[in-house]
């Protein structure tokens, strides 16, 4: 289906890091079925790095490919590095997205950032409680 790049198709057909993490350090969800796509990211953090990352996605081919790419780009990165992943960088890594599907990649980066923020705010609470 030539509306998607080969890279998008490859990630869609063989998505990386699908699933959920038990007792995750952070969870981020973005989107809803009305807009079409919904993504949830689960992260494990170790020494300020994304030690593990998994996702679940309801949506089109682009949404699944974006989720997979975001998970791959973020895994092993420091939290600061991961926060720098942008919709544009995800789309570039995927060798482009159809214009009307670009919002899907926004969702991917946002969901990841939410998961990291979730981790940071939980950490703050724990530290504040000490």
């Amino acid at each position: 289906m030539p509306i998607y790049s080969e890279k998008v198709m490859e990630h869609f057909m063989n998505p990386r890091n699908v699933g959920e993490i038990e007792n995750p350090d952070g969870v981020g969800q973005e989107g809803n079925p009305i807009c079409g796509d919904m993504m949830a990211f689960y992260i494990k953090v170790k020494d300020n790095r994304l030690d593990d990352i998994k996702f679940k996605t309801f949506g089109c081919g682009a949404a699944i490919a974006v989720s997979s790419m975001v998970s791959e780009m973020a895994k092993g990165k420091t939290l600061e590095e991961a926060m720098k992943i942008t919709p544009r960088s995800v789309a570039d890594e995927l060798e482009g997205l159809p214009q009307n599907k670009f919002h899907c990649s926004n969702l991917g980066a946002q969901a990841l950032h939410k998961a990291i923020q979730d981790y940071l705010s939980k950490k703050k609470k724990v530290e504040g409680g000490k």
Partner: protein
């Protein structure tokens, strides 16, 4: 790998006999039907043969057929042309909520031109209640348009009953028969309509050609100005090869309708009854019985249509979907939403439209390859994990 084309609502293939009927007009019989000399004659004859063939398909008179460039054009022509021709009588039009965009958006354009529009709702099967049409009529209503069958959910509408109401009230009634003409019996007098649209590529004719039938005596504003073609109502040099093909396709459709219907219905019912058992949490969309013969449509819960479509494509199976992601505007199908389905469920829309080439083995193949695809996408879906958790599962 097996290749199975189940997207005949998008377009049917061209029958070899139809292509044969077109070839002379792509070759030596290239003349313009309007030319008075010898070169014009065969083209003119081809046009009139096709006009008679199309008229016979729908029980009309040949001189009431106007050839157009597509079903969409026929609908634009009908909605705008019929309303404008009668605007001195009133400026109110009525269409159903599940019309094709070529009807709905034409009606919206009329609104911009000062008309008022009423959308008639449908029930959960996508059926228009004729009494709702009656209730929507006003003193100044000049046009009602309800499709003969919906191409997305397959439901056949009670056109005859609606026509009785429009006749009693002396309002012009158009039906979009793009999904039905050439597929199920269509007779303009039996239906009781005043205008009817059809398209060639829905019944094994070529793309880029359609027809609008307008009952003699019903006024319609010309669609294209600048020539005498089609009685001055649709100017422009005619697409003679396509029109010849449309005529041939109409003739073949009429001759073999009974056997085609039997074939398609058997295959369709295999999917309609087989699929829900194979994958669970599936809604059949459209009317369970009163539907197009080759039409099986579903919403598969917890997953999205485009990803299903792409994974089926990777297995050689061509289908379509009414999910938001598959539409360029990224909006959920107005048809499914009008039928009362939630956005989440409508996102799982998948549509199998069968054709003459399909076999029972093709249906078995779909029933074999689809369940693992659905399972794979559900394992990936946060909506599905929510559902499982809500049921107390793992």
């Amino acid at each position: 790998m097996r290749r199975v084309y189940l997207d005949n609502a998008a377009t049917t293939p061209l029958l070899p006999e139809v292509r044969e009927a077109m070839l002379p007009y792509l070759g030596e019989a290239f003349g313009n039907p309007s030319s008075l000399h010898d070169w014009g004659e065969p083209a003119r004859e081809a046009m009139e043969t096709a006009r008679a063939q199309v008229a016979q398909l729908i029980g009309a008179n040949a001189e009431e057929i106007i050839f157009t460039g597509s079903g969409t054009e026929s609908n634009n022509f009908a909605i705008k042309g019929l309303a404008l021709a009668q605007q001195s009588k009133g400026k109110h039009v009525v269409v159903s909520a599940i019309e094709h965009f070529s009807v709905l958006h034409s009606a919206r354009t009329l609104e911009k031109w000062g008309f008022e529009l009423t959308l008639v709702p449908v029930d959960k099967y996508g059926v228009v209640d004729p009494e709702e049409v009656r209730k929507s009529l006003r003193e100044d209503t000049v046009l009602v348009s309800v499709m003969h069958a919906n191409g997305e959910v397959g439901t056949i509408e009670p056109i005859k009953e609606i026509a009785q109401i429009t006749r009693e009230n002396n309002v012009a009634f158009h039906t979009d028969a793009v999904a039905t003409a050439g597929t199920i019996p269509v007779d303009v007098d039996e239906l009781g309509v005043d205008a009817l649209s059809l398209a060639g590529n829905q019944f094994y004719g070529p793309k880029g050609v359609g027809a609008l039938w307008v009952r003699k005596g019903v006024r319609i504003k010309p669609f294209l100005d600048g020539g005498v073609q089609e009685g001055g109502r649709r100017a422009g040099t005619e697409n003679v090869p396509a029109i010849a093909g449309l005529g041939k396709a109409a003739e073949l459709a009429k001759a073999s309708m009974t056997s085609r219907t039997k074939h398609l219905t058997q295959l369709r019912d295999r999917l309609l009854t087989g699929l829900p058992g194979e994958i669970g949490h599936v809604v059949v969309t459209g009317h369970p019985q009163n539907r197009l013969p080759g039409h099986a449509s579903f919403c598969v819960e917890f997953i999205e249509g485009e990803s299903m479509l792409m994974l089926l494509d990777s297995q050689g199976v061509a289908v379509s979907s009414g999910s938001a992601c598959t539409s360029r505007a990224l909006k959920a199908s107005h048809v499914l939403i009008a039928m009362g389905l939630s956005h989440a469920v409508a996102q799982g829309s998948i549509l199998f439209t069968l054709g003459l080439d399909n076999t029972p083995e093709d249906m078995d193949y779909v029933l074999e390859v689809l369940p693992p695809i659905v399972d794979r996408l559900r394992q990936m879906s946060p909506l599905y994990s929510e559902f499982i958790k809500s049921k107390g599962g793992k």
